[in-house]
C-alpha cells in the first residue's frame, strides 16, 4: 500500500522539475529506480501512478518505467561482494554478519523524458 504514497511523491517531484525546467511539453516517460530491498510491487506502483497522474498537466500520457536493482552486499571483514538471491544478510564467503548493503535500497526518480512533438 505504500506504493500509493510513493506514486504521489513521484508526481509532485516531477511537477516541480517541470516547473524548474520551464517546460511546456508533455512528459512521455518517468524513469524510476527501485531497489529490491524496498519491497515495491511494480504493478501496484504502476497502477497508483496511472491513477494519480489523471488531470495533471503534462503528465496525462506519461508512462512510468521502473527498473529494479538487486541487493548487493559487501563484507566488512573479507571485503567480498555478493548479490543476494535469498534474504540472508551474511557474507557468503566468510559468514561474517558485518556486512554493508552497497545497492538495493534505492528509491529515486532517475530522469524524465519529454515528448519531442
Amino acid at each position: 500500500m505504500h506504493e500509493l504514497q510513493i506514486a504521489t511523491n513521484i508526481i509532485s517531484i516531477v511537477e516541480e522539475e517541470i516547473r524548474k525546467a520551464g517546460k511546456t511539453e508533455d512528459i512521455e516517460f518517468v524513469y524510476f529506480i527501485a531497489g529490491k530491498m524496498r519491497a515495491i510491487i511494480p504493478e501496484s506502483l504502476q497502477f497508483s501512478f496511472d491513477v494519480m497522474k489523471r488531470d495533471k498537466p503534462y503528465l496525462e500520457d506519461a508512462e512510468l518505467k521502473i527498473s529494479e536493482i538487486p541487493i548487493k552486499i559487501r563484507c566488512k571483514n573479507c571485503k567480498a561482494e555478493h548479490t543476494l538471491n535469498e534474504p540472508v544478510f551474511r557474507c557468503e564467503t566468510c559468514s561474517s554478519p558485518e556486512i554493508e548493503i552497497i545497492s538495493g535500497d534505492e528509491l529515486y526518480i532517475d530522469s524524465i523524458e519529454f515528448s519531442d512533438t
Binding site: 500500500m1 505504500h2 504514497q5 510513493i6 511523491n9 513521484i10 517531484i13 516531477v14 522539475e17 525546467a21 511539453e25 516517460f29 524510476f32 530491498m37 524496498r38 519491497a39 534474504p87 540472508v88 544478510f89 551474511r90 554478519p97 528509491l107 529515486y108 526518480i109 532517475d110 530522469s111 524524465i112 523524458e113 519529454f114 519531442d116
Partner: protein, 217 residues
Amino acid sequence: MKIQIVRDVLEANDQLAGDIRNIAKKEGFTLVNIMSSPGSGKTTLLERLIPALTNKEIRTAVIEGDITTTADAERIARMNIPVAQINTESFGGDCHLGAEVILPALHQFDLNNLDLIFIENVGNLVCPAEFDTGANVNIVVISTTEGEDKPLKYPLMFRVCQIAVINKIDLLPHLRFDIQILEENIRKINPMMKIVSCSAQTGEGFDQLTKLVIAKR
C-alpha cells in the same frame, strides 16, 4: 528530450525525520518506534513496559497511531502518561505513520520533561518499515501465533529494527511454533538484532526488555 533528476522519492519524509532527530537531541528524549502486524500485542506490551519504566523514574509518553479507533489511546491514557492520538481515517486510513504526522504529535508534549517517547505505529509489516519516523530506536514485535517465516517475508522491517520482541510466549505450549527457527530467521536478515522473548500477558521476559529499552536511551 531527457533530463536527469536523481531525486529520492522519500526525500521530504527523510528530511523531516532528520529534523525530528535534531529535536530529540536538543530536548534530550529518545524516540522509540514500535511496529508489528495487527494483533501482535503492541498496546499490551506498552501497558507492561511503561509502568516498569515509570518505576525507574523514566518519564514516558506515547504517540498512538493505530488506525480507526481511539481505543488504544484510551488504554494508554489510563496509565496517566501523556498520549497524542494521530487522527487517521475512520474507514481504512493510512498504512503507516510518516514523519509529517509525528512532528505535530511531538509538539503536543512538554518535551523538556520526557525521557522516552513511544510511537505505536500502524499494524503492518510492510509500509511502516519504508517511512522513517525520526525514531532513534525501531522495535519490531512478532507474536508466536504468526509463523516463523515472517522475517524472511518482510526483510526490510527486520533490517530497520534494532530490537525484535517475540511476544505471547505464554501460548507456546498450545502451538506448533518453533521459537528457535524464528530466531534463526531473524538472524538471517539481521545478525546484529537484539532478540527478547516475552509475554505481555504474564509479564515474563519484561525485566530483560525493560533493561534493553533503558540501555538504548
